[in-house]
Subunit: 428 residues, 2 copies
């Protein structure tokens, strides 16, 4: 029964995607405007569905943080509506023609940007993802099959109802937004088999979901979301800049994927830098899991200053770990080379930074670090589609294929070669 | 034992890929020049290895066409050397910086093009593929793991020896070109599991290999090679141009993936066009598998003209079939819409063409056909990296993800975001 349903969802999405590919920007923007208005007009229905989800989540013993991620209110709905309107303001990637030129034989050849087709998205509790992804898929001319978490089922159903009605009112196919409302886990495995109906699968969630999808999907996948991020404070760092950047990278929002996990400090600057950052992190309540040298240095300073920093000896598994909390691993290294080796070994290819005033060290770091985003003297928390000028993002890819780093509208497209001739034949 | 070997090949390739990413264009071009020279200098050794492969192939009863694909001679080696030198003349995609700009907060953000890392290629008999792919991977800064067909084993071993020596002499890591010389079929399955060591897998071969790889690979795949190509002769076609283009699309080289498989003809022009193309195809020996209307029309003309065309009634399976031979399916359609529907249903997303003088029909065809290459009034045989100005190609992708159509050097790369700040922190 479930198989038939999912298959029919795929078929319907495929048909809708063929219409989506040819909608004008004006019509797509009207649909986005309708969605934004619908979120405000249907506030009562959405919040009531969401309240039921939240009550169940609390009853099931979900953490306060999880319930907060799930929870909608009037303000959050207004923010969602604003984000939808922001998507309408972005340039439409569909129809852009790239590198069009005339060959010596007179053939005109170029590439025209087209939607990918049907995007499948598997995600967890936050209901705003339902609206974000739908808006981005609509704007880039794609149909979408949404598979949200069971804890947000009623919220997502209410949101999808608003979205589909808004599409229909603008003259866009309602069926371009499909929601899988069967909470059974087997449906994920079934989605992974639907190569014929899903052109791209985006898993958003923990490392386990992403690994499962990457190994079992039969269609292309853009995976991301796991960020084990390092900042290396070079011997030639400006300590004041370094403290500000490192502190921001950890403390601004510790629960996001671009937050600092491991701090690497050059041995020559460690006596100056480590106490300076420990003073800031002490105030913010950051727990520091230190290697032997960092620990002995910081314990000495803490004793002398009578400071109450949260210092612990690092265990091996602290390196390469994504804390998503006010915790950082700390290691003293002897050289830039040692920092580069550490990052290559433990990094997840998300965001990595160096703090230095040394030109050659900065250039070498930019050159050699293999990650989606590589920084000099800036906080890794900037890795974000909005910050990078993409306007919005479907996710942050930590793979190299198709899209790397924040994925915006353009990354939801492909291209086709178009060739205009006048009876051209190819010589032998 | 085989597992250990393949795993160690992967490890060695991964290490080499890290060096490859930072080689200068000058050094890579020196390596290419060495390869070209090595092919000429080592002619005796290569041709003797190849003669052994060809003898075994003949003894095993391979067709003359297959043995010809396998066979090398002095001329073919010279052509291969020339192709290698041509790759050196292409612009180097690595290091290109895309869209670099300064954000309002002063952060400088851009994307720098980088190699993908390790490319795995699974291919069949033609030994020149070994040299082509190695050259393209070298030039784009990637390491490569080659898995050629068992029938070309000794030829490939001899070629890889030349390539690796040429790399070493230029100061490039020899280990960046790895050859899997174990002919066991299980090795393909093992390669598909090597997600940690292979960043992109390119299967080159029949539909069965490609389907197997797409379903079972754990890493990204660019698949292609299967081309079910249509040309639609619209009611407003110029018959003379149409006959030249359609004839070229089928006859120039019938065994390649961009050759015409099905001819669709508008009912209003069929009485004029079908006899005209049948006269050409009659001379070339093309067998026409015709639908009812085309067959009755052509049989009538053949009778009146006393022509000896190879006419057959089409079976349903002729539509959507890749003939790779002097055979074409022929169908009369009532409208452009019917042609578009036919192509959507039966096409493989490779190359599709319309012959028309009607501007709106041409625009609609370009807009609506979903394929890697869409043509107006030109032969589908132009779908080729060299023809499109890419210089050379790793293959022709019929998927939408990452690369579509001919894949050149740029399609062997990814990018990383680079961000240069001056102590930038992100506000809350």
């Amino acid at each position: 029964m479930a198989t038939i349903t999912l298959e029919s969802i795929g078929q319907v999405a495929r048909v809708a995607s063929q219409k989506m590919a040819h909608l004008s920007t004006t019509l797509k923007n009207q649909a986005l405007s309708n969605i934004a208005q619908g979120l405000l007009d249907e506030e009562a229905a959405i919040l009531s569905a969401n309240a039921a989800d939240c009550a169940d989540a609390e009853a099931a013993g979900l953490s306060a943080a999880m319930v907060d991620r799930l929870m909608l209110n009037s303000q959050r709905l207004q923010a969602m509506a604003k984000d939808v309107r922001a998507v309408a303001a972005l340039p439409d990637p569909v129809g852009e023609v790239i590198d069009m030129h005339t060959l010596p034989n007179g053939l005109i050849v170029g590439r025209r940007r087209v939607p990918l087709g049907v995007i499948g998205v598997i995600y967890e509790s936050r209901p705003n993802v339902t609206v974000d992804i739908s808006s981005l898929c609509l704007r880039s001319g794609n149909a979408v099959i949404l598979r949200g978490g069971s804890e947000a089922l009623r919220s997502n159903q209410a949101l999808v109802k608003v979205i589909r009605r808004a599409l229909g009112a603008a003259g866009a196919p309602e069926d371009s937004v499909q929601f899988v409302d069967n909470p059974q886990r087997e449906l994920v495995s079934q989605m992974l088999e639907m190569r014929e109906y899903i052109d791209l699968l985006v898993p958003r969630g923990g490392a386990q979901l992403i690994e499962f999808v990457a190994r079992n999907a039969t269609m292309p996948v853009v995976a991301g979301g796991v960020g084990v991020c390092h900042t290396f404070v070079d011997r030639a760092a400006d300590v004041e800049k370094g403290v500000a950047v490192v502190n921001n990278a950890k403390v601004r929002r510790p629960t996001i994927c671009n937050a600092l996990d491991t701090l690497l400090v050059h041995v020559e600057i460690a006596p100056l830098f480590l106490p300076a950052i420990a003073r800031e992190w002490g105030k913010a309540g950051v727990e520091m899991h230190c290697d032997r040298r960092a620990l002995s240095l910081l314990e000495g300073v803490a004793r002398r200053e009578g400071a109450d920093w949260k210092l612990k000896a690092a265990r091996p598994e602290d390196f390469g770990f994504e804390f998503l909390a006010l915790v950082a691993a700390v290691r003293v290294v002897d050289s830039l080379e040692e920092a580069l080796e550490h990052i290559q070994r433990y990094g997840s290819g998300h965001s990595e930074a160096i703090i230095t005033e040394d030109y050659s060290a900065a250039m070498r770091f930019l050159d050699e670090v293999d990650a989606a985003a590589v920084y000099v003297n800036a906080s890794t928390q900037f890795t974000d589609g909005g910050q990078f000028g993409l306007g919005a993002e479907v996710g942050i890819s930590t793979q190299k294929f198709h899209a790397r780093g924040p994925m915006g509208l353009r990354e939801m497209t492909s291209y086709k070669w178009i060739i205009m001739g006048n009876g051209h034949t190819r010589p032998l």
